[in-house]
Each structure stands twice: as structure tokens, then as C-alpha cells.
């Protein structure tokens, strides 16, 4: 059954109120919420090679309506992110319907549907000058000594323009108050970025949390190999706690904020003061 029929069935059976997929607009494949009141539009539902964090959009929707039933196109990375968001109580698994799609190359489909696995467009420069995007932490640890690794990472971090894009795009960064904007740790609104504190604070937060989707690295204007950094961090978590974020519904060993995490809307609505 093709994906459009699958979604149509979900609507007919009243299993979902909205479906998050992609549609084409002016030549761009962009995320879109399909609704049952416009079933005709479903014909335009597509899978996109450009990955957007649809599960992050789902958390925005359930901030507004916690009981909304959401369908969602999911690659493996989306699925891992959803698992993690369930365990951190940011989404309710009973409210989410998943339609799985191909991502990594497989015998069925040799061509990957993933911007990350496409020929490494931005990788050429990197191959010559820096750490390869897809490098494994282990090989990095073996090839370079401590000093070499330290100066390489400091070189990478120093390129940071403090855009907060790595945090903003990350499906598992959902804190109401973010340490990266907490004046006593990292002062907001000043440049250059606090190197290496800014990046190490985020790296420690990604321990037991980063589901290795690579969206942060794709969004980093300074081409800092963030995915590699968080892979290294989570290799340690895996060694010590035998925990791989997003792999299942098991809670992170770092779950210290307890069971009562509430879905507080982030301060994006600017109606607090003054007129509507």
C-alpha cells in the first residue's frame, strides 16, 4: 500500500487529526501538516530527501493541544527521536501514528533518501582540511594523540558564530530554560562564543540524549563536526551504561528530572505584555 493510501486510511479510521509529511512548493520540498478536512491535498504528499525534524514540529503541536493525534512520516532517525521524546514525556506514544519510509540504502532501494547520506556536498573542503563528517570517533582516537585532538577541536569550536542553530534544530533539545542562554554559564548576546564551554555544555547534555540524526551538523554554518562530538560522548554512555539513546523505550540513565516533566509552551507567544 503506498503511503498516500496509508495516510488516507488513518484519516478514515479516525486515528489521526493531522499528518506531518512533505509537499512541494515552488520547487522546494517542505514539511506540511495534512488534515482530514482537505483530503484532496493528500495527493501532494511526498517523501523528501531534505530532512526536517517532523517530531519537533509534533512537539510544538502537542504543546498547543496535548490530545492531538498526530501521524508522521518517519525515517530511522525520526523513529529514534520519537522514542526518546516518549521516554522524556515530550510526546505521548498513544497519540502518534508512524508511517515508516526508506532512508538508509538497502537491498530494496540502493539510493538513500537522506540528505546526510547523499554524496557529501560539503565534505570536499572537510576532507582536505578537517575532520571528515562521517568519521568514527574510534578511528579519530586511534589516529591522533591528545594534543592533536585538543587543538583540532579548539580550532573547530573557535569557528562558532553562536547562532544556536545546533540547539534550535535538534529534535531532543526541548528544555524550557536552556543552559546555553543561562547568564551564569554562558552569556547570551556576546561574541565570540565561550570556547570550549558552549560546546562542552551542549555535548554533556547530549550524553544519553543525542539520537545521532546529524541535523545539528547540517545546520551549523561553521561546519563544526558536531555529530562526531556527540557520537564520542555517546560511545562513552554506551560503554558505561549500556544505553543507546532512542534505540528503545528505555529511559536514559541521566533522567534526573523525574516523572513530572510538563509540556510548557516555550516563550514564543509574544502576547504577554501589551496588546494582542
Amino acid at each position: 500500500m503506498d503511503i498516500i493510501n496509508q495516510v488516507e486510511q488513518l484519516f478514515i479510521q479516525n486515528k489521526i487529526d493531522i499528518f506531518l509529511g512533505y509537499k512541494e512548493l515552488d520547487g522546494h520540498l517542505i514539511p506540511h501538516g495534512f488534515t482530514p478536512d482537505n483530503l484532496d491535498e493528500l495527493k501532494e504528499l511526498k517523501v523528501s530527501e531534505n530532512r526536517y525534524s517532523l517530531e519537533k514540529i509534533a512537539t510544538h503541536l502537542s504543546e498547543k493541544d496535548p490530545d492531538l493525534k498526530i501521524g508522521i512520516i518517519a525515517r530511522d532517525c525520526n523513529q529514534r527521536a520519537l522514542n526518546l521524546l516518549y521516554t522524556w514525556k515530550q510526546l505521548k506514544p498513544e497519540n502518534i501514528e508512524i508511517v515508516n519510509v526508506n532512508c538508509c540504502p538497502s537491498p530494496l532501494k540502493p539510493h538513500p533518501d537522506c540528505s546526510y547520506l547523499e554524496p557529501k556536498q560539503s565534505g570536499e573542503f572537510k576532507k582536505e582540511h578537517g575532520i571528515d563528517y562521517n568519521a568514527e570517533p574510534d578511528s579519530l582516537m586511534e589516529t591522533f594523540n591528545n594534543n592533536e585532538r585538543f587543538s583540532r577541536w579548539m580550532y573547530e569550536f573557535n569557528k562558532c558564530i553562536k547562532c544556536y542553530g545546533c540547539r534550535n534544530i535538534c529534535p531532543v533539545c526541548f528544555c524550557t530554560e536552556c543552559s546555553l542562554e543561562h547568564a551564569s554559564l554562558i552569556e547570551p548576546g556576546t561574541l565570540p562564543a565561550e570556547v570550549p564551554i558552549f560546546h562542552l555544555v551542549r555535548a554533556t547534555h547530549m550524553a544519553g540524549r543525542c539520537i545521532d540524526c546529524g541535523l545539528c551538523e547540517e545546520a551549523c554554518p561553521s561546519h563544526i563536526p558536531l555529530r562526531l562530538l556527540y557520537r564520542e560522548v555517546n560511545d562513552i554512555v554506551s560503554d558505561v551504561f549500556d544505553y543507546k539513546p532512542g534505540e528503545g523505550m528505555e529511559k536514559s540513565p541521566f533522567t534526573i528530572i523525574g516523572d513530572d516533566v510538563v509540556l510548557e509552551p516555550k516563550p514564543m507567544d509574544f502576547q504577554i505584555q501589551g496588546e494582542k
Binding site: 487529526d17 493531522i18 506531518l20 512548493l25 515552488d26 520547487g27 522546494h28 520540498l29 517542505i30 514539511p31 506540511h32 501538516g33 488534515t35 531534505n50 530532512r51 526536517y52 514540529i57 510544538h60 503541536l61 498547543k64 493541544d65 492531538l68 540528505s115 560539503s122 558564530i161 553562536k162 547562532c163 544556536y164 542553530g165 534550535n168 534544530i169 547540517e218 545546520a219 551549523c220 554554518p221 514564543m268 507567544d269 509574544f270 502576547q271 504577554i272 505584555q273 501589551g274 496588546e275
Partner: protein, 135 residues
């Protein structure tokens, strides 16, 4: 509940990064980079990431304001344009076209900037036209 994404171009500087506004139930909720945009290729600076904030800001000006007796008063577009035209004419006649300068902005389009310099040179009659990026 409705959720759609509206492509636009960041209005904070002349780079012109492609963005998507996340619109939930008719209200802009956040800004994300447009991954397939040739200029920024899915990346933004901190200004672009926060583009939605001024749209919903309570401080946003929604009507023109004219300063009367030292305080700003709300006005209609017709009133504001008339007032500006009358004043520009008065100043030009009394002090000459070179007493007027026009400062344009990176936050408007190329075409609008072109029109602004045309207006300055051909209508007002001065070469006093400059751009905020040179301030």
C-alpha cells in the same frame, strides 16, 4: 488544528537566506532554515533563527506615526504620505534639493532600493542617497 510552513526570505540582512515560518493555526510559531535554499543551504545566523519574534512582538508598529508636538500620533498611510510629500516639497523649495538625504536599508528588496535611489535622484534631485550597510 492546522500546521503549515511558509517559505520566505530573511529580512534582517542582504544575504537573503531562505527560511520557513512554522504556522500553527494561523499564527507564526517559529522560524527554521529552508534546507533546499541555494543561498544558506539549511543554515541561519542567530537573527534568522529569531525572525518570527518581531512579527508577533507587541512593540511592532502597525500604523504609521507622525510626530506632533513632540509625541508620536497614529496616522493613516494617506496622512503619512501626504505629510511626508508636503514636508519634502517645503524643504526642497526653501533650502534646495541637497538639503535632503535618503538612507535606504538592507531589509528591503533590491527593487525597492533601486526605486528609492531613483526617487532621490530623479524626483528630489540630489545624490544624497546612502545605505545602512555603510553606516
Amino acid at each position: 488544528m492546522g500546521c503549515k510552513f511558509v517559505p520566505a526570505v530573511c529580512s534582517y540582512c542582504g544575504t537573503g537566506c531562505g527560511i520557513l515560518f512554522e504556522v500553527i493555526d494561523g499564527k507564526i510559531n517559529s522560524t527554521i532554515p529552508l534546507k533546499s535554499h541555494p543561498v544558506n543551504q539549511g543554515k541561519l545566523c542567530i537573527k534568522g533563527w529569531n525572525l518570527h519574534e518581531y512579527i508577533n512582538s507587541y512593540m511592532r508598529l502597525k500604523t504609521p506615526l507622525i510626530k506632533e508636538d513632540g509625541t508620536f500620533q497614529k496616522a493613516t498611510w494617506d496622512e503619512a504620505i501626504n505629510h511626508t510629500a508636503t514636508e519634502l516639497n517645503r524643504i526642497k523649495q526653501r533650502f534646495g534639493p541637497d538639503s535632503i538625504g535618503v538612507l535606504v536599508s538592507a531589509k528591503i528588496t533590491n527593487e525597492e532600493n533601486y526605486l528609492a535611489q531613483k526617487f532621490t535622484r530623479a524626483v528630489i534631485g540630489t545624490n544624497n542617497v546612502d545605505h545602512c550597510a555603510r553606516l
